[in-house]
């Protein structure tokens, strides 16, 4: 569609179609697809036949950081149904041809109107982001129920398209933790659907249940019936009784011919012999081999997950519109910290103290960059442990009169009371260095960067604006 042409009210300009009040962008094969540029359009049309590429494009949109992009209506330009189940769930319908825009327009307009209603508070914690994304997508599609769909490519066997799309295959169980938090916050009610058992190494559910040798875990074994000859108490496999002359079974111990099971012999047990280690046993071990990572799991050590159907509550609906800000209750409880509200009160007093001749005071922050990604890798518990370590490190380097609080789950703010700004700057540089070393030591496999800054308090400053001005650079990241 490189040529401009006019057809009725449809105006086609390269990959852009304007129809009534909506601007459609058509993604085609070989396009250099740049999701960031979609901000100017209202609806995305995908005109690609290859399933994998369609899936790729949909994922790029639905995982985009910008809410206007990840909530964007998506329609597939196709004459047939699309078979990939997750992509079908994440798109808003099928458009047989560009001439049928009327058929999707009401839905597109409805979604657009819903998107307009949604507020987007700045949220830094990973959990909050994920909850917001899920609720936003559901709300804009008037969807009340988040159903788990059985999905072959899912790491845990079930997929919540609006949420799970944000997770890598190996981290999909993280989606369940997010939903658990959302349920605890009263945003969802749940109904039990299924229980899945996953690998205790990678949380994968693609498991091969096998009966294996208890000694070497090999599933290559043979079974033999043990024959007990009553008169002489000989016990051995049936092969022991076979002779080379005829089909009769003769006891190798007393040479009597076996005639009648239950009368002169029986088969009291079965014995397995492992072809790998030659171990003999009667009871197999049942093991679950993870196809994804190869771990041999004892079935009793598999990790169980409850798969539930989630129904959005009124509170969830409200949060979908106004945004979910996790005030990180768990982090607030960390020893040595005060709540943000208390921090602000103390800061007010500190500003008042500046009236004293020669009194100087500062506030600073330590921010763990890319917190959402870090949390995705570390999980909530480790993230909390990381922040706790940082707080303890800070407390040991600050004066006892200094106060520390969490601005959010990845940002710690604190005071340098009665300290010159230059000294505070030096101190925070040292803290940055210490923090980075601590983080590198504690989380070797995760790349974590730290940002710090310190500002001097000024007389007459409003607490709110002081804090916001300090952390403002972070909101642009």
């Amino acid at each position: 569609m490189v040529e401009d042409f006019e057809k009725g009210q449809i105006i086609v300009d390269k990959n852009v179609v304007t129809y009534h009040d909506l601007k459609y962008f058509i993604v085609e094969l070989n396009d250099k697809f740049r999701p960031d540029n979609l901000i100017k359009y209202d609806v995305l049309l995908i005109d690609i036949k290859e399933d994998e590429l369609v899936t790729y494009v949909v994922k790029q949109i639905r995982t985009h950081i910008n809410p206007r992009i990840y909530m964007m209506p998506i329609f597939l330009l196709s004459t047939t149904d699309f078979h990939e189940v997750v992509t079908t769930h994440l798109t808003d319908g099928i458009l047989p041809s560009i001439n049928h825009l009327d058929s999707i327009e009401p839905r597109a307009l409805d979604i657009k109107a819903n998107i307009e209603r949604i507020n987007h508070p700045k949220v830094l914690s990973f959990e909050s982001q994920m909850i917001n994304r899920t609720l936003n997508l559901m709300y804009t599609r008037n969807k009340k129920v988040l159903n788990p769909i059985p999905y072959f490519h899912s790491g845990i066997g079930y997929y919540y398209p609006e949420l799970s799309i944000n997770f890598d295959h190996r981290d999909e169980s993280g989606a369940l933790k997010i939903l658990e938090i959302a349920e605890q916050e009263g945003l969802f009610q749940s109904e039990f659907h299924e229980r899945v058992y996953c690998c205790n190494n990678c949380n994968g559910s693609y498991l091969n249940y096998r009966e294996v040798c208890p000694k070497c875990n090999s599933s290559d074994s043979i079974s033999q019936d043990l024959v007990h000859h009553f008169p002489c108490a000989y016990v051995g496999p049936i092969e022991d009784f076979k002779n080379n002359i005829d089909d009769q079974l003769d006891c190798p111990k007393c040479n009597k011919t076996l005639r009648h099971i239950g009368v002169d012999y029986d088969k009291p047990s079965v014995l397995y012999t492992c072809n790998s280690c030659h171990h003999r046993f009667q009871d197999y071990y049942t093991k679950a081999k993870c196809i994804t990572c190869g771990t041999e799991n004892d079935v009793e050590h598999l990790v169980p997950f409850s798969i539930k159907k989630y129904i959005m509550t009124k509170k969830g609906e409200n949060v979908a519109i106004n945004g979910y800000i996790n005030i990180e209750k768990q982090l607030e409880s960390l020893e040595g910290t005060v709540t943000m509200a208390i921090f602000k009160v103390l800061l007010t007093y500190e500003i008042q103290r500046l009236h004293t001749q020669g009194y100087q005071s500062n506030i600073g922050y330590i921010h763990v960059q890319h917190a959402a990604a870090v949390a995705g890798v570390l999980g909530l518990e480790k993230q909390k442990a990381l922040m706790n370590d940082l707080v303890q490190m800070l407390k040991s380097n600050l004066n006892p009169s200094d106060f520390v609080s969490f601005y959010n789950s990845s940002t710690i703010v604190f005071s340098f009371v009665n300290t010159k700004h230059k000294e505070a700057k030096e101190a925070i540089e040292e803290m940055k260095d210490l923090s980075e070393r601590l983080l590198r030591k504690s989380f070797e496999k995760v790349h974590i960067e730290v940002r710090t800054d310190v500002i001097a308090l000024k007389l007459g400053g409003e607490v709110e604006s002081v804090v916001n001005s300090m952390v403002f650079p972070l909101t642009k990241m």
């Binding site: 002169d264 009291p268 014995l271 009871d283």
Partner: protein
């Protein structure tokens, strides 16, 4: 009191008046058989055993060193039905062993209690190496032979599930194999754990201490030891495979020992390899057990292995003597005792009360002497010998009357009616077939 004193005086007067030759005439059974065999022979043998032990101390230490150097795998096999309740204790006892290179094989012979659940749980926790469950009961021999299919050890130790073992028991029962390459099997020293439980257990404990433990030490020294206890016995795996395991019982432990002896292997008793077991706690249960044991003498010694008495290519003098001694002191003398009793009633009817009292006196004195003197030769004691002193007089009735009567009944039942084939100790299906082919 005066009457009692007068009776005693009369008794001693009788003793003085009869003279030594008359005493021998009246108490020939005691002097010529029992005193000679169970006091004189035992005592002399014990002195030689101790002397030998001192003399060969270096050999023993060398054998022990070689065993530790080789560290052979020992397969411990425990067949049984409804023994689950004992298995944990057994595994605990085995866990304490100084000798660790063993595999524990438990065969559940068609239990109908929780044995399977218990054993599977213990196996899961690593306390049992192999657990084989036979859905239908096949008898002790088939259970042991099933274990033999799995066993990989150089030596096989057969245990009873309700026994526990000294921490060095496995080590001590294996050492004799390194003292001589001709040793095919070693019997452990079975002691009574519940000796205080009842009069029946106390008397059995005395019997085990004296007749069984000392008796087996002597028999082993003389080369006529013939029953490696099923509760604690060790066998060379290659010979067990050669004889194709155990044959059906009752009395399979004595039977397998004879099979080893027939192949020319030495059978040793090791009194330092100690196992403790619970014996029947009532005379009713004890009678049942002894009837079973005593029937096996007729079934195995006189019938199944009667070839030992006749010259053949595999004739062995020690086996012959072993059998003769066994038959003489258990079967023949048992019959002879009745002849003796008839002799006394017929010829000495007037002095019968004196004879009975004298018999009691002679046997009690002998038992007391054995208790005191033989105690010196016992390296390992689980009961203080003082505990038995009060019970010594009762041993006359226990040995002389009770066991003798039980033995007589058993012999009659087996000799004339082949009752051992009807013993529920074995499943009927196996006994019927064994009877058919005469083994």
């Amino acid at each position: 009191m005066d009457v009692f004193g007068a009776e005693i005086q009369e008794f001693f007067h009788y003793l003085r008046s009869v003279g030594f030759s008359k005493l021998l005439r009246v108490f020939w059974f005691f002097f010529f058989f029992e005193f000679f065999r169970y006091v004189i022979v035992d005592l002399i043998s014990l002195v030689f055993i101790m002397w030998d032990r001192k003399r060969n101390r270096n050999n023993y230490e060398d054998a022990k060193r070689r065993m530790w150097l080789e560290l052979p795998l020992v397969s411990i096999v425990v067949p049984g039905k409804n023994e689950g309740k004992h298995i944990y204790k057994l595994t605990t006892s085995l866990k304490e062993q100084t000798y660790k290179n063993f595999e524990l094989i438990i065969v559940d012979d068609g239990s109908d209690d929780d044995t399977e659940i218990i054993c599977k749980s213990l196996k899961k926790n690593g306390l049992i190496d192999y657990f084989i469950r036979n859905e239908v009961r096949g008898g002790k021999a088939s259970g042991a032979n099933t274990a033999l299919r799995i066993a990989r050890g150089k030596y096989v130790v057969h245990l009873d599930a309700d026994c526990s073992y000294d921490f060095d028991a496995i080590e001590n029962i294996i050492i004799p194999f390194y003292e001589s390459p001709d040793v095919g099997a070693v019997g452990g020293n079975v002691m009574v754990r519940n000796y205080k439980e009842s009069l029946a257990t106390t008397l059995q404990s005395f019997e085990y201490t004296d007749a069984i433990s000392i008796g087996r030490m002597v028999a082993s020294y003389l080369g006529i030891y013939r029953v490696v206890s099923g509760a604690f016995g060790a066998f060379r795996m290659d010979i067990l495979q050669r004889v194709q395991g155990w044959d059906i019982g009752p009395g399979l432990d004595g039977d397998i020992t004879v099979k080893f002896r027939k192949l020319g292997y030495k059978i040793k008793f090791e009194d330092r390899a100690v196992c403790q077991t619970n014996v029947p706690n009532s005379f009713r249960k004890l009678t049942k057990q002894r009837l079973r044991w005593d029937k096996s003498l007729i079934r195995f010694r006189l019938r199944k292995h009667s070839d030992v008495f006749f010259p053949s290519q595999n004739f062995s003098l020690t086996n012959f003597i072993s059998f003769i001694e066994n038959i003489t002191y258990t079967l023949v003398l048992n019959i002879k005792w009745y002849i003796y009793a008839s002799d006394m009633i017929y010829n000495f009817a007037s002095v019968l009360p004196f004879i009975i009292v004298m018999n009691f006196f002679l046997y009690t004195t002998t038992n007391m002497f054995k208790l005191l003197v033989f105690n010196i030769f016992r390296e390992r004691k689980n009961t203080p010998f003082s505990y038995f002193v009060l019970y010594v007089p009762l041993m006359v009735f226990y040995h002389g009357y009770y066991l003798r009567i039980v033995r007589t009944i058993a012999y009659i039942k087996e000799f004339f009616f082949k009752q051992s084939y009807k013993d529920p100790w074995n499943p009927e299906k196996t006994s019927i077939k064994a009877l058919e082919i005469g083994i």
